[in-house]
Every structure is written in structure tokens, then in C-alpha cells.
């Protein structure tokens, strides 16, 4: 019985490994995937920003100051002396107005002689955290609440672009989550029915998916989004946009789930569970679904960035979300004009979080997908 005792005397670390279950093994492999691992932290950080937007942002999303229209981004500098000669650990310079001799236009330039100290956890505009807890501290902001601090510059109404981008995180990132949740429910339900029962139910679901997939996405989205009445409540618009986005999203997920059900149905261990006398429910939920939850997690993670991009594109085109709602797409819409390109290129800055979020989610999803099959 050499065979039976071959793995008998294991050292403790090896022993732990053999008693690792599915998620344990996936996590081990995921850890080795450095890019995905760190992307995971970035994604978490972005969602944390979305959750605590009021605290993270220096200002509210609609605070404006007509004195600082289209002011350029300031640099955050260290060790300066303010007007009173006191040392400021962190500070920003103020602005001065300059007449462009060629274009004969007024514009703001940085005035190195003015120093506004900047601090962490400073008192600023009061807000309600999660809409409930009253607070007035901000992660970062000017020590004097009325001093101008526009790290990413301002827009045509003199609103702080950084604050607006941070507030936009909430809508942009959550639209992906909500949309994916809707896709997930539809995808698992319909894909599961399709794969487990087969027959005409399968045919019906498959043909529906084929149909939905045959429609070019962009015109479909544009058509549906354009059908949303202009005067509709922004919250309802948000809801309908997610529904429209998930209308396409569920099909891929349904395919994944169906394929998994089909291949698992004839798998010996599923057969063994049936022969053990397990009910249909137990076979599905206890024996089949756990072997592809990791694949679903991966698909979902990969579906979120597509949703985020879709929302951004629709809003950018002006047929998605509209002001006063703040999302990355809505902010980028402001950068459409020629003026932005030449006079206020910082209006493109909200594109950075879009790229970062989409890349991080993609890397994360790839990592989970690769780690999902510990036996490959």
C-alpha cells in the first residue's frame, strides 16, 4: 500500500495546502498574479472613494465660484511661507488675471507670490456622510475655506473639477455594479434554465440571445437612451440607463452559465450526487453552482468595466445621464468643445479615472479568471 501512504508524513505547510478548499486555492493562485492583486486594491480604493465621496472631495459637486472660471490646475507644493511669514507644510499658489496679448482674452495664470496653506482633515463645507451623519471635515482642503484650491482646475462655472470627478465616481462606479447585478440575475436564471433543462427552453433562450447579439450595440443603446424623456427624474434616468446597459450584458453571462451547466450535467461527480439521492435543488446549488461561482465572479468583474465605459460613452454623447447628475461621462461632455482643447485641456482629466478603473477591473477580472480553475 505504498500508494495509500505516500503522502502520509507531510510537513505542516504542505498539510495546510491539502486541506485548502476551492477558495483557498483560488486565493493562493490569485496572490501570485501580482498585477491582478494590486489592481484589486485599486478597485477597492475607487469604491471607497465612491462611498466616502463627500469626505474625500474638498468641495461639494455644485459649489461654484464665478471669480475662478476656467482656472488651470494648481500644483500641490511643500514648505512655503504664507502672507504672515508662517511656514506652510503644504500649499497652493493663487491665481492672477492676465490678458493674452495675441487672443486678447482674459485668463488665469498661477500667481507664485500668493500662498494658501493646505491641510488634511480640514474643516470645510458641511455635509452628511451617507446622507445621514452630519460632518464638515474633508480629507484635503484649503485651511481657509474661502481660499481657492483647484488641483484639477475649474470648469465654465468655476466648479472644482477634482471634487466633481470624485463625486462622479459614485454614479459611474455604481452604474456598473447595479447593471451587472441585473445582468447576473438574468444571466444565471436564463442560462441555468437553458443549460439544465435543455429542450425548447434552451432553444428559446439561445435564439433570444442570438437576436440581442445581432443588433449593433451602439445604435441600440442610442435608440433606447434617446427614448428616455428629457424631463424625467434624474434618478429614474439613471435606473433606465442601467437597465439598457444590462440588457446586453446578461447575454454573455447566460452563455457562460449555460455552458457550465451543460458540461457539468454529465460530469461524473454530478451523477454521483444524483445517485447519492440528492434532490434536484441540492444537486444544483450544492454540487454544480459552487464549481463555477469563481467563473461567474470573473465574468462579472470583466463586465463592470464595459458598463462603465458604456455609461461614459452615452453620457459623453449627451444621451445618457445629464446634469445635474455628476458622472465621469457627464464631466467629459464638457470637454467636447474646441475651447476645451485649446484653452482648458484639464477638462479631460476625468478621463483618467475612467481609464484607471477600467484597466484595474480588467486586470482584476483576468486574474480571477486565471485563478478560478485551480486544477488546470
Amino acid at each position: 500500500m505504498t500508494d495509500a501512504t505516500a503522502t502520509g508524513g507531510l510537513s505542516p505547510p504542505r498539510r495546510k495546502l491539502v486541506e485548502l478548499g476551492q477558495w483557498g486555492l483560488i486565493y493562493r493562485r490569485f496572490r501570485k498574479h501580482k498585477l491582478a492583486y494590486w489592481s484589486g486594491f485599486i478597485v477597492l480604493a475607487i469604491y471607497a472613494v465612491a462611498l466616502f465621496a463627500e469626505f474625500v472631495a474638498p468641495y461639494s459637486s455644485d459649489r461654484y465660484n464665478p471669480r475662478y472660471i476656467y482656472s488651470p490646475p494648481q500644483m500641490l507644493k511643500m514648505f512655503g511661507r504664507d502672507q504672515n511669514g508662517d511656514l506652510a507644510l503644504l500649499y497652493v499658489n493663487g491665481y492672477k488675471v492676465e490678458l493674452d496679448p495675441v487672443a486678447l482674452q482674459r485668463r488665469f495664470v498661477i500667481d507664485e507670490s500668493r500662498v494658501y496653506p493646505v491641510g488634511f482633515f480640514v474643516k470645510g463645507e458641511p455635509y452628511h456622510l451617507f446622507g445621514l451623519i452630519p460632518a464638515e471635515r474633508h480629507l484635503i482642503g484649503p485651511v481657509d475655506p474661502d481660499a481657492p484650491m483647484y488641483l484639477w482646475g475649474t470648469d465654465r462655472l468655476g466648479r472644482d473639477l477634482l471634487s466633481r470627478t470624485i463625486h462622479g465616481t459614485r454614479i459611474s462606479m455604481s452604474i456598473g455594479l447595479v447593471g451587472v447585478t441585473i445582468s447576473l440575475v438574468l444571466g444565471i436564471l436564463l442560462g441555468g434554465i437553458s443549460g439544465y433543462y435543455g429542450g425548447w427552453a434552451d432553444q428559446a433562450v439561445q435564439r433570444t440571445i442570438d437576436f440581442l447579439k445581432s443588433i449593433p450595440t451602439i445604435p441600440l443603446w442610442m435608440g433606447l437612451a434617446a427614448a428616455i424623456p428629457d424631463r424625467m427624474d434624474p434618478l429614474l434616468v439613471y435606473f433606465w440607463i442601467t437597465v439598457i446597459l444590462s440588457l446586453i450584458g446578461w447575454t454573455d453571462l447566460a452563455r457562460v452559465v449555460r455552458g457550465r451547466f451543460l458540461s457539468l450535467k454529465t460530469e461524473d461527480f454530478v451523477m454521483a450526487a444524483r445517485l447519492d439521492g440528492c434532490s434536484r435543488q441540492r444537486v444544483i446549488w450544492h454540487h454544480m453552482v459552487p464549481s463555477f461561482t469563481s467563473h461567474i465572479v470573473a465574468s462579472v468583474t470583466l463586465a463592470i468595466p464595459a458598463m462603465i465605459l458604456a455609461e461614459t460613452s452615452l453620457s459623453f454623447l449627451g444621451i445618457g445621464l445629464k446634469p445635474p447628475v455628476v458622472s465621469w461621462g457627464v464631466l467629459l461632455k464638457d470637454a467636447q468643445s474646441l475651447l476645451a482643447l485649446t484653452q482648458a485641456p484639464w477638462l479631460f482629466l476625468p478621463g483618467i479615472p475612467v481609464v484607471v478603473a477600467v484597466l484595474a477591473l480588467n486586470f482584476l477580472g483576468d486574474g480571477i479568471r486565471d485563478a478560478a480553475d485551480p486544477y488546470s
Binding site: M271, D276, G277
Partner: protein, 356 residues
């Protein structure tokens, strides 16, 4: 007819198959014009499994061996025929007449060990859940006692009881198959179906596993239905053997008789492909080359299905299907069984060889 032939006098039968057929409907394509024909995977199969014996089922790939076992286990519904099981009170129950729900009462009596030890164990569950599942869902033991029972079973199949918390990936192929055996034995079954249960294992591990199966059979008074395409394994473990060809039985015999003197040309051909265990003893005949392909169960040749490949085929064989019948105390389906003098093999273990 089948009654008389399938069941030999003597030991009580545990399971009786009568004219069991399984036809797989052709796949319909979306455009509804699939040209495929129904597959008669199992076609009129009758045999008995006697209490306490090991009955072998042998035949080339695709001849319907697994389909028979699946019909017995209720994975497939039979197309026709009956499968009667003698329950613990001695009543004969027709399993094919039971609803899915009623069958559950017998799922603990009839158990299976699968071919692929890797695929048959859920990689997401620890051994204790794999082996204990049947005890749990059928409420055979209180939850608190399941772990103890699983540890006991593991020990019995030659694994350490501490392995109960491990996942299948931590075991070797042979060990995994032992886990599969432990799962089958968990319910104190009466019939264990071993569908190619050792085919996926290395040769050395295979021998150990076969010995373990023999020990367990003795200890628990098990009855085995042992499916294999490997005749040397069949010879080693089986008391009687059923030889199948394209969904039909061509010969049933005691293992010793079958190997010493096959009655059906197909059996002879199978035997001739066996490696001779001891090169000092030369095979009595040459290896018989089987021309052509295994017949397609969807398109069976008329008459004797074996005729396109049979070196004794006559006109009668092409026209008339041979029935399974008694010939000189043996059971065979061949028109010319009486007249053929077919070659058997001497296996190393037979006394005749040792005294030669």
C-alpha cells in the same frame, strides 16, 4: 426463453434484467432535418446477477456496457424490458416501474464506482462531504456521527482517517479511487457496480485496488457488477462473464470456461488479443485479427451483427439473427456454436498451466 437462459440454477439472483433495451432518440437539429438514426445502445439484454458473485461485463468501446449500468442505476430510463431487484425482504421489485422518487429507496442498496477517479470526486468538496453526502441526504446517520463513519470507511479502504478533511486534489489517482470506493460502501450496499473502476489506474495501483475490492467483497458480502474492456482484469476478479457486442449479449459463461474455451467467435477474438502472462507458455493459437470496424449501434448489420467481421460467417448469419441459447451447457448467441472449435487462452493462474 431468456428466463431459462439468464438464470442458472443454484444461487439466488439479486438482480434480473429481462430484454432490456435502451434507444437514444436521434438528435433533432434546429432545422428539424437531422439525418441521424436512433441509437440502439442496448438491445434486448437479459442476465442475472447472483448474490455474492462478481459478474463481469466485457466488450469493445461503445458496445453499451455503461448504458446497461446506467439503466440499472436509473440514470437512463429503459426503453423496454424489466430490471427486477430482490430487496432485503426477498421481494422482487421492478426498478423500471418505479418513479424517480420511489427509486430513491434503493439508491443506498445499489452503488457505483466510476471509471475516472478525478472526474467522479467533486473538486470543491472535502472527502468527508463527498463520502458523507449519501449518509446526510438520506438521513442514515445523525450529523454528529457522519465524520466518525467516514473516518472508519477511509481506514477500511486503506486511507488514513485524518485524510477526511482533505480535498481530492491532495490525493493520487489510486487514493482517489479508494475514496470513490469508500463512497460506494458508505451505505452498506448490496450491489456495487464497478464501471471500468480500475481502467484509469497505473498497473501496480490497479492490482492493489483489485485486491482491495476482493477483500471488501469477502468482508461485506458484496455483489459486484464489474464492467471492463480489459479481459485480464475480468479474468482476475470475475466469477462469471457477460460478453457484449453492439448492444447485445453474445455469450455468458463462467470465467474459467470462457477463457479456456470460448464459444462465440467474438469472444475468441477478444481473448486472442490478450497478452500472454508467461512468455514460456506460448499461446495455443495465433492472434485473430478482427477486420473492419465495430458495428454502429445506429445502423446494425442484418442477421448476426458480428457477421461482417466473423471468419465463420455463412449466408444464414447474414439473414437470421442468432438468439442467445444453451449449447452444451453454455450460453451463446451464434448459429454455428456447436461446430466451431475456438481457441481459448491459458492464463498464468490456471492450474493447467502450473502443472504443464
Amino acid at each position: 426463453m431468456a428466463e431459462a437462459i439468464g438464470s442458472a440454477a443454484g444461487a439466488q439472483s439479486l438482480l434480473e434484467l429481462r430484454d432490456v433495451a435502451k434507444v437514444f432518440a436521434p438528435r433533432t437539429t434546429f432545422f428539424g432535418r437531422g439525418k441521424s438514426r436512433p441509437v440502439r445502445a442496448v438491445d434486448g439484454v437479459s442476465f442475472d446477477i447472483r448474490a455474492g458473485e462478481t459478474l463481469g461485463v466485457v466488450g469493445e468501446s461503445g458496445c453499451g456496457k455503461s448504458t446497461v449500468t446506467r439503466c440499472i442505476l436509473g440514470i437512463h430510463e429503459v426503453s423496454s424490458g424489466t430490471i427486477r431487484y430482490r430487496d432485503r425482504d426477498g421481494r422482487m421489485i421492478d426498478l423500471t416501474a418505479l418513479s424517480e422518487h420511489e427509486r430513491l429507496a434503493y439508491c443506498t442498496d445499489l452503488r457505483i464506482v466510476f471509471q475516472d477517479p478525478q472526474a467522479s470526486l467533486n473538486p470543491r468538496l472535502p472527502v468527508i462531504d463527498i463520502v458523507g453526502e449519501v449518509l446526510k441526504v438520506n438521513h442514515l446517520l445523525p450529523r454528529s456521527e457522519i465524520e466518525g463513519r467516514v473516518r472508519e470507511l477511509l481506514q477500511r479502504v486503506g486511507l488514513r482517517p485524518e485524510y477526511a478533511r482533505r480535498y481530492p486534489h491532495a490525493f493520487s489517482g489510486g487514493e482517489r479511487q479508494r475514496v470513490g470506493i469508500a463512497r460506494a460502501l458508505a451505505t452498506n450496499p448490496r450491489l456495487v457496480i464497478l464501471d471500468e473502476a480500475v481502467s484509469a489506474l497505473d498497473v501496480s495501483v490497479r492490482a492493489q485496488t483489485l485486491n482491495l475490492l476482493k477483500d471488501l467483497q469477502q468482508e461485506f458480502g458484496l455483489t459486484y457488477l464489474f464492467v471492463s474492456h480489459d479481459l485480464s482484469v475480468i479474468e482476475y476478479i470475475c466469477d462469471r462473464v457477460v460478453v457484449m457486442y453492439v448492444g447485445q449479449i453474445v455469450e455468458i459463461a463462467n470465467a474459467a470456461d470462457l477463457f479456456a474455451r470460448p464459444m462465440h467467435p467474438y469472444t475468441e477474438a477478444l481473448l486472442s488479443a490478450l497478452p500472454v502472462p508467461d512468455p514460456a507458455f506460448k499461446r495455443r493459437g495465433r492472434r485473430i485479427h478482427l477486420p473492419g470496424e465495430v458495428a454502429d449501434p445506429a445502423n446494425r448489420p442484418a442477421g448476426c451483427s458480428f457477421h461482417p467481421r466473423c471468419r465463420f460467417a455463412t449466408e444464414r448469419c447474414k439473414a437470421e439473427t442468432p438468439a442467445l441459447r444453451s449449447v452444451a451447457g453454455r450460453t451463446v448467441a451464434c448459429h454455428h456454436a456447436e461446430d466451431l472449435a475456438l481457441q481459448g487462452v491459458n492464463m498464468g493462474s490456471s492450474p493447467e498451466v502450473q502443472h504443464a
